[in-house]
Structures are given as structure tokens and as C-alpha cells.
Assembly symmetry: C2
Homo-oligomer: 307 residues x 2
């Protein structure tokens, strides 16, 4: 019987579900708006319904499914499947998601941090394929990250490695949701950029428009993206000095700002990092887009030997 993998990427904005074959080729996908669900239970039910739907829609039975990979947007014990909390989805605290899901659906479930899965996907079949050591970073509402060491995702001692968004770039500075101060996420998260754009342009302006203005040479828009690139570059220079990686792959919505952001980022890392590390590291634009999370979750299931 042909075996398939189901992938789930749970984010603060969207819930994405993918169906993959054994070669990690995407066969089908669904997407729902997460914000529709007022409660934790509504969201969990919709995960279950979506899994059933994608199986039925593709005329498969449960026996065709070798495993379900789930990407999660917050601190979780990924071995036991217990979610500690989600910074951007209210109502989740110490939820045994693995137990809940397996009580409703007789599948093998595998859990991982969403930014780790993006990093894994870009490393295995995306923009960073072929390297050995590196980092992934996703720019969005929050700034997530993942670390690849000797060709493997490095999870840290308590599954919490890769929090590139929480490298501090100042001794003093605004408080961060994480409990720290002056984390890079505060300076380059979506909301901060939108607020800055609103102040500068004296009206609401989308990130897409801000990127378009910058591409056309609008100096105010260029300045906003350069500031983002410089600050991110300072944080990444520290990580580059610490890990001497081959690559940093940059994804997420903000990364679509394009050339101005990437040029500034590359220049700043080269200027601020040490010579050997700064000359060696490649800063690469992610290429798998919004599917990176579900692709990474499928790779996770395959790596765990479930197919």
C-alpha cells in the first residue's frame, strides 16, 4: 500500500495541512485561518477535522498514513508532545497535545518547533542544501530560528535551541515578551516595522507597500529596511562568531523585502563579524516560502523512520 505523510504547521495566523509522498513531494494542501478559533479546543478540533478531510479528499484510508508531523509555534517538550505555551496563540498552557490527538486519531504523531522545521526544510531540499553547519531565521510577527550542526537539526538540551530572535542587541532596551530585554525580535518583528512605517509615512502602510516603495527608491522606505538589515546583521554577527556556520537562510514574510534588506544584512554581518567567520558565511534567501513548515514536518516524520 502506498504510504503518505501528513504535515501540520500551526501558526499564529494560519493552520496549514499538507499531504506528502515518501519522496517529500507535496500531493495536496489545505490552509485555514487560525484566528477563527476562539478556544484551544476549537483549534484542536479543526486540526483533527483537517486531517480527516485531506485523507478523504485524496481517497485514502487511515492505513495509508505512516505518520503525522506537527510544527508548533512555542515552547514544547517535543519528546512528550506537551505544549508549555504559545506566545501568539492565547489559551495554551501545559497542553498534552500528543495525548489529545492520539486519543482521537490512531496515528504516530511527531512534534517540532515551527522555525526548526523551516530550517530543516531549507537545509534538506531548499536554499541551503549541501552545506554542513548553519542557521535558519524566519522573520514574521516573531523572529524564529533553527540551528543545523554537522548536518543535523540541533535541538538543544531541552528542545529550545535556535532562538535567534532572542539574541539581545543592547544592554538596555525595551522589554521582550520572552522576559528578556532588547532582543532582536523587538526591533525587526512585523509590528515594529509597521509602526515605524506609520510614523514615517503618517498613514497605515502594509509591508508589501513598504517593500514596493523601497524597490522604487523611496528614501524613507529604504531607510526603514536598512535599519532592519543593520540590526539583524548585528545580532547575526554574534551568532556567526559563536558558531562559524556555512550559511544563514532567511525566510518569512519580511524576507520578501528583497535586495535592500539582504544587501544591508550581508554588509553588516561582514563588517561586524570576525574575519574568518564573516568571510565564510553565506547569507541566503529562503526558497520554499510558506510551505517550508509543512515540508519540514514531512522530513521530520521521514527522519524518525515512520516511512
Amino acid at each position: 500500500m502506498t504510504k503518505y505523510i501528513i504535515s501540520i504547521d500551526l501558526g499564529g495566523t494560519n493552520l496549514r495541512i499538507g499531504l506528502f509522498d515518501q519522496k517529500i513531494k507535496l500531493k495536496d494542501k489545505l490552509s485555514l485561518n487560525t484566528k477563527r478559533f476562539a478556544s484551544k479546543w476549537g483549534l484542536i478540533q479543526s486540526i483533527i477535522d483537517s486531517i480527516k478531510l485531506i485523507i478523504k479528499k485524496n481517497k485514502l484510508s487511515n492505513d495509508n498514513i505512516s505518520g503525522v508531523g506537527v510544527g508548533l509555534p512555542g515552547p514544547t517538550d517535543y519528546a512528550s508532545g506537551i505544549v508549555y505555551f504559545f506566545p501568539n496563540i492565547p489559551g495554551w498552557r501545559n497542553v498534552n497535545l500528543k495525548k489529545i490527538l492520539t486519543s482521537k486519531l490512531n496515528f504516530k504523531f511527531y512534534f517540532e518547533n515551527d522555525a526548526n522545521l523551516m530550517t530543516l526544510a531549507e537545509y534538506k531540499i531548499g536554499a541551503a542544501a549541501g552545506y554542513k553547519n548553519g542557521m535558519g531565521i524566519t522573520l514574521g510577527t516573531g523572529v524564529g530560528g533553527g540551528v543545523i550542526i554537522n548536518g543535523e537539526l540541533f535541538r538543544g538540551s531541552k528542545f529550545a535551541a535556535g532562538e535567534i530572535g532572542h539574541l539581545p542587541i543592547n544592554e538596555k532596551g525595551p522589554s521582550c515578551n520572552c522576559g528578556g530585554r532588547a532582543c532582536i525580535e523587538i526591533y525587526v518583528g512585523n509590528q515594529r516595522i509597521l509602526n515605524k512605517a506609520k510614523r514615517v509615512f503618517k498613514k497605515e502602510i502594509s509591508l508589501e507597500d513598504l517593500s514596493r516603495f523601497a524597490a522604487r527608491g523611496n528614501l524613507k522606505a529604504v531607510k526603514i529596511w536598512r535599519d532592519v538589515g543593520e540590526r539583524l546583521g548585528i545580532a547575526l554577527a554574534g551568532a556567526v562568531n559563536l558558531l562559524n556556520p556555512d550559511f544563514i537562510v532567511v525566510g518569512g514574510g519580511v524576507s520578501r523585502a528583497g535586495k535592500i534588506l539582504f544587501d544591508t544584512l550581508r554588509r553588516t554581518v561582514k563588517k561586524r563579524a570576525m574575519i574568518v567567520q564573516g568571510n565564510h558565511v553565506k547569507i541566503i534567501k529562503a526558497k520554499l516560502g510558506v510551505d517550508a513548515g509543512i515540508i519540514g514536518a514531512a522530513i521530520l516524520v521521514k527522519q524518525r523512520g515512520a516511512i
Copy 2:
């Protein structure tokens, strides 16, 4: 025939040579002041003379020596043994030290960064034994570091990983020797602490005295060490968020400042790092002292299978 390992730890201040048995037990050691040597060649000759001396002094022959481990204080291609440069020893630039040494002495030479060797030593037989993931940091003229991942020293893609001293703690700030800005090393290196102490006490004061004053409750001295602990804690909080390590082992001269420094460091890391990572990491005082470098070099030789 009984086999021994010779270890060399080349620092900006001292050249240390050790003789170890197969169980990494120190049998004999020598120490020379590095500053005596005006030229690169004088220093290299003294390394050669010291190796010959420690063999002769212990009534051994060259056949008893299974390998020579060398710890170096600056960017080096550790595979080829080519030194790029030493920040604190002038006159070394693109020196093929392996070639020079093997042309004079028929031994197998193994090279590694000195802070990496301290980390390896503390991890294998020192204060951090038994953990899995962590970092070592040495506080001295410079601030060096090393990274342990999954029980192994992590060298990075170009042998330059572990530069914890060059994590930036401010966007803007003083220029660092490394080419960057506002690196933690600038704020907590020996010279900075001594300069600060001189300004505060209006006379030259040694680090030992500054530690003694602090231990006795002198508020000015306490404040200086607290500042060091806080700033170091901010830099380490970032590294802890990124790597979610089990431990950070802190060594080097400044670490002897003791309780005030360590208390502040632990409190700051806990306050500034993310919950899971901050609660998990142990900040440990190194216990191998000035011998950590030569012990690490001996472990390196043993790991490479030369004994």
C-alpha cells in the same frame, strides 16, 4: 614502551608545557614567560627547546612520545597547522607552524584553539563533566570560548567557532580588535576592569586586590564586579537562547573574583534568558585552573588516536 603525550599551551603571557601519561595524568610541567621572546623565531625555538628539555628531564626518549598537542591563542587552520595571526602576540602572520615544528622534531603535532582546549578539558575531566551540551569561557586579557555539542567539541566550518568574547552587547559602542563593535570582550577584558578600578580608586590596583576588596564588602569594588557579571550575563543570555546548553563553565583569571561575580552572572542569565533555557543552564566555575590548556591539549592528542 610506555607512551606519553606532550602538551603545549601558547598564550600571550605564558608558554606552558606538560607531560601526560595515557590516562591524562600530569607527570611534569614547565612554564616560560612568553614576553621574553622578541621575535616569532625566538618563541618557536623555545617551544622546541622546552619539548626536548621535558623529555630529557624525565629520562625519556623521543620514542616514548606518542604526540604533541598545541593550544594556540588566535585564528589558525587547525587541520593544516597554519596560524593566520595572534591578536596578542605580534609578528605572527600566515605561519605554517606545523611544517616548522615537524621539520625540527619528528613528532605528530595536533593543533587547537586554546579556549577550545580549556573547554574540552573542563568538559572531559573538570567542572563540566557529565553534561552533553555547553560552552566554556575564559576571562583574561581577551575573552575566549568553546562550544560542546552532543558531547564533542564543535569547531565550526572553518575552525573558528566558540568566540563568545565577540558577542556584541550593544548596537553602537567601542571598536573591538576583531573588527566588530561593542563585543563583550571590550567590556570585561582584564584591561578594561583595571582601567575602571584605577579611575574609581584613583590609583593602580591589581585584579587580586579588587577581588579582595569586593570580598570584604567594599562597595566600589563590588560595583565593578557586578557590572562585569551583568554585562557578561547579557551576552551569555543570548548564547543560552541560541543553544539551550546544559552548562557554561567559566574560567580564567577574572573568574577568581568569586562569589559576587558568579552570583551576578547567574542572576543576570536567569533574568535575561528565555524561561526554558534560563532555568536549565548551570553556570559553573572552572576547576582545572591554569593547567586546563595543557590538559585539553593532551585530551586532543588522545582523541585523535595518537595513543
